[in-house]
Structure formats: C-alpha cells, structure tokens
Subunit: 117 residues, 2 copies
C-alpha cells in the first residue's frame, strides 16, 4: 500500500487496492462463510453433518445456502457419494486454498484481540 497523498485526487493504485478489498469482502462477508472455509482449511474434508456440528448455531438452511454460494464462487468442491443414506463431503478448491493466508491472518488477529475487550 501507499504513502500519504497530499492532493484530493485518488490514484489508480488506491482504487485498485480498494477494489481488491471490496471484491474479497463481497465474496467472504457474512456470518458463516469464513468459518466454513476455516474448518475446511483445518480438516481438509468434512461431511455436511460434520460441518453442521462444528458451526454451532447454524441452521440447516443457512448451511446449504452458504455451501451453494461458496460452490458458485468456486471456493469449495462438493463430493457426493451415491449411497444410502447419502454421504456428501466438502473440501476447499484450489481457489479456496489460496485464501489460506487471509484466513490465517484473521485467525491470528482474532485470537490476539478477542479477549482484550
């Protein structure tokens, strides 16, 4: 990122930096997605029911909705096994894995600052 700008015009780098952040934000913001991604980063592959158990308080509807959005953004893969009862697993896609550094930074910052309040 850049240093102080003395004029009131916004330069290209600034706009792009902000655009990048705004795009990432639009993909990740909301109450559940980051947690879903974090669990998948941690445990590689999780079943629907395993995710449901880890995400304390999430409704089945929200879990489905958010999993679908994450698939639509190509951040996770859905692996469906044709069995009865059904078995479906989720894992990070390549694009999803590329979020690792963001997730790690957010986790570190959170654990460091969560208690201070």
């Amino acid at each position: 990122m850049r240093k102080t700008a003395s004029t009131n015009t916004i330069n290209k780098e600034q706009l792009e930096a902000n655009c990048g952040i705004a795009y990432t934000n639009s993909i990740l913001s909301g109450r559940w997605k980051l947690s879903i991604l974090a669990f998948l980063l941690d445990e590689k592959k999780l079943r629907y029911s395993e995710l449901r158990n880890r995400l304390t308080g999430i409704s089945e509807r929200m879990l489905i909705v958010k999993l679908k959005e994450l698939q639509a953004d190509d951040l996770i893969n859905r692996i469906s096994h044709p069995e009865v009862p059904p078995r479906v697993e989720y894992e990070l896609s390549k694009k999803g894995k590329s979020l690792e550094s963001i997730l790690i930074e957010m986790s570190k910052w959170g654990t460091k600052n969560a208690t201070k309040k």
Copy 2:
C-alpha cells in the same frame, strides 16, 4: 447484531470466544468497514469529507454509523479540530494498524481474482 435474548446470539458469543476468525469477522464484516480501513491505511489521515468522496456510493448516514462503530471497537481515532467550519480527521489506531497484514492479503487476493470471472 441480533437481540441478546435470541439463541443465535448466544451461539455467536461462543463462536467469538472459541474462534479467532469469527471474532475478526464480527468486527470487520459488512459493506464499508474494510474499505474505510484500507483508505486510512493508505493515506494515514483523512477528513470526513475526504472519506466520503473516496467511498463511492456511501451515504452520509452509513459513513457516520460505520465510523462510530470503528471508534467503538478502537480501530480508528477521531481528531476534532475546534474550528469553523468544523474539521474532523480520522486515522487508524494502533489496533487498527495491526490489521494491516489482513488488509494487504485481502487486497492482493481480490485484485488477483476479481477479473477471472
């Protein structure tokens, strides 16, 4: 945030206590905060009107609301100069500056992935 009485809030507090990511998310999520912080990281100190101009499309109400929330979370400082017409500047606090690595990672990821779709 939801009412304290709802079961969801209880679960949210649990998540915040147990998971750094959830805490960080609860502090940063929403449409504007990350952009506000990014501009302040870039330009060190900005007046209210300068922020308003950079955050294309934000209403004055939202800007005030979000600036107050960021102050309440001790991420930014408000510097009021006793002049007429009023002059108020905002800057990152120490805690706000500690978000730098998150902001940079999100900016990088966004600019890298935004065009691909």
